[in-house]
Symmetry: C3
Subunit: 273 residues, 3 copies
């Protein structure tokens, strides 16, 4: 299944509009190119709506949001909805400040998302309306483990039902779910958290996968999460004793560039719950 | 000829003010340093004019333009003109949105450019006042090929005459022309388009080359285009079966850092039309 | 001593709020992660104060400052002061434009800094209220050499006394001083200046070191400067004849990721004056 989904990304080369933070934007662009997609960035209210119109999908990432870009996020999101383009939300730091929490909640209210991808603390903030995010990383108390996995899956399915979107919670174990089915994914490496922006890159990647596979949002999102984790594994094997997080960042994007649909099918490590 | 031009960049170490998009700005800075130049970025209207004044050249790149940076582009461009500093325009995405098209046309009207560098769709948009750019990439229908090269050269020369600037159209075959002479350049690799920002980097590089060689804008722009393509070739040879677009990006900048003027002279692959 | 200071960074994993320029922000984030810290970026006045509140330290870098981010710098700096969080200032380009000089001076007046890190021209601008910075690099006439080192040390100590902050002047020889003691540091490589943002990265790193060692600002800042320089040395040894400034950038961050506290203790090259 993931083979066909990734093949579709490579064939269709989806053009993805990214309204995303300036910390990791270059890596998001190169990750989109690596998977076979094509990125375009525009975050001014006077530009974002038209740019969304010429794209196939949109990703909204609220890291480094500001008073100029928030209206662009809302307007582009609504336009993408009108056009039937899938929209992905990355609620970076929701729970860490009022502006981020409020913006994420307002986006949820005014824009229909195909997929929401965040860490468990950010997703809990969306569910409850307030949060305890430790900066842009998940709070240790929130983390999904083998012991609390069933409870986490139920929580994510219920939130997916309530919001009407696929929810992707990423961490040591990733959960990608709609209201009925959950992919529990065990790809990836803990060292990926020592690179800035692997989450942002994954959100951009997810937008490309869902844009190329609009009738299979759940499977496409799960495929993107498996692909990112698998590239983290492949890239880790390449590291020498001199390499650190900077080279690891490059190797992960390189691995996506080289990844074949058949390798994704074979390397995807998940179970359904 | 290109040997002396590049030698001049290395000796003069031109300080180049870049008003450029935040997607690829870091690579533009490192590319400028790699060629022997020095970058400085300032995009607030209250800062850009003074920063331009202490520099030798200016590059204006309209990717991720916004309501704050557009006045900075105009004001810095006019100040550079007053000071006789060469100005390079990169009309990223002209034709893809009204704001980008209008801003590019307004810049053309109010600022005198030494060189304009873009893909064929962006350049056609400048010529006609409207366009069909597919995002930030050239439309397939527009592409310069061996079959339509003579027609494309005539179009570029005529536009150069009309605007009074050197025009650099980059793609599989690059055309760098003023109203009388055209360099048709066959350096480069198709894989360069899988890296975000090789065009932006080339525009910054062009500004450094023209700043260091103010009386030879055409030759300097052509030398920059050859140098970028040649570095793409050199870097490609370095790639292993594990490397992808992220490592390729680094290797191209590395190649510029190592490139000698004599190697550029020898490796430049062009004909005059 | 530096061993314990670096050990403390690794153990406490300080969360550092960075209001920093968009040119080098990604490298700053990865450098913070490499040293064991954690980055978060927020530069909107409506977000920055709250984000500062959940962090342990703050770094303010005025490169690419604008009318929106300047109020965020001032407000976040004051809030960090109220909370007793260490604040680091990187006055990028002070002396190069009125806006940069005035903003740096205003920040000095309204915010209490633990450490100020800049090149000699930027620091002289802070001392005199005006300057002759050549872009973002130090003016050759200002450079600290073995011949003028004693005079420079006196100048830095006097400025540290006057401002009430640790002053770190980086260049071929680095001086890190409070009003009584100066570390004169000879780690580093001249090739580091061919990478954009090594100074910005060092300022972010310094914030992590000082945040984790709040009672030893001088020693922590000196340790950060030694660590950065040492990583420049380690990374340089790794370079092949094909590597240039792009790979060197990655290798330096990699080296920080791999550096142990014992290696820092052993490799730090300084004398007290």
């Amino acid at each position: 299944m993931f083979e066909q989904i990734f093949e579709s990304v490579r064939q269709k080369s989806p053009l993805v509009h990214c309204i995303t933070n300036y910390v990791t934007v270059n890596d998001c662009a190169n990750m989109l190119l690596a998977c076979g997609g094509s990125p375009i960035m525009a975050d001014d209210p006077g530009d974002a709506v038209e740019i969304t119109s010429i794209c196939g999908g949109l990703t909204i990432n609220i890291g480094t949001l500001n008073q100029r870009t928030i209206p662009a996020m809302l307007a582009a999101g609504k336009r993408a909805n009108e056009l039937g383009h899938p929209v992905v939300l990355d609620p970076v730091g929701a729970g860490a400040s009022t502006l981020r929490t409020d913006t994420a909640l307002r986006l949820l209210k005014e824009v229909k998302f195909a997929v929401i991808r965040g860490n468990i603390s950010e997703i809990k903030t969306l569910a409850s309306g307030s949060g305890t995010t430790k900066g842009v990383d998940a709070d240790v108390a929130d983390r999904v483990t083998e012991d609390n996995l069933d409870g986490a899956v139920s929580f994510v399915k219920e939130l997916a039902r309530r919001i009407g979107a696929v929810i992707a919670v990423t961490g040591a174990i990733d959960i990608v779910a709609d209201e009925e089915r959950a992919f529990c994914i065990r790809n990836g490496r803990p060292e990926m958290s020592s690179i800035t922006g692997t989450g942002c890159q994954l959100s951009a990647l997810t937008a490309a996968f869902v844009t190329a596979n609009p009738d299979q949002s759940l499977e496409a999102a799960a495929a993107a999460v498996c692909a990112m984790g698998l590239c983290g594994e492949v890239a880790y094997k390449r590291m020498t004793g001199l390499d650190g997080n900077a080279s690891y960042r490059n190797y992960i994007i390189d691995a996506m560039y080289r990844l074949t649909p058949a390798e994704l099918e074979k390397g995807a490590n998940y179970e359904m719950r």
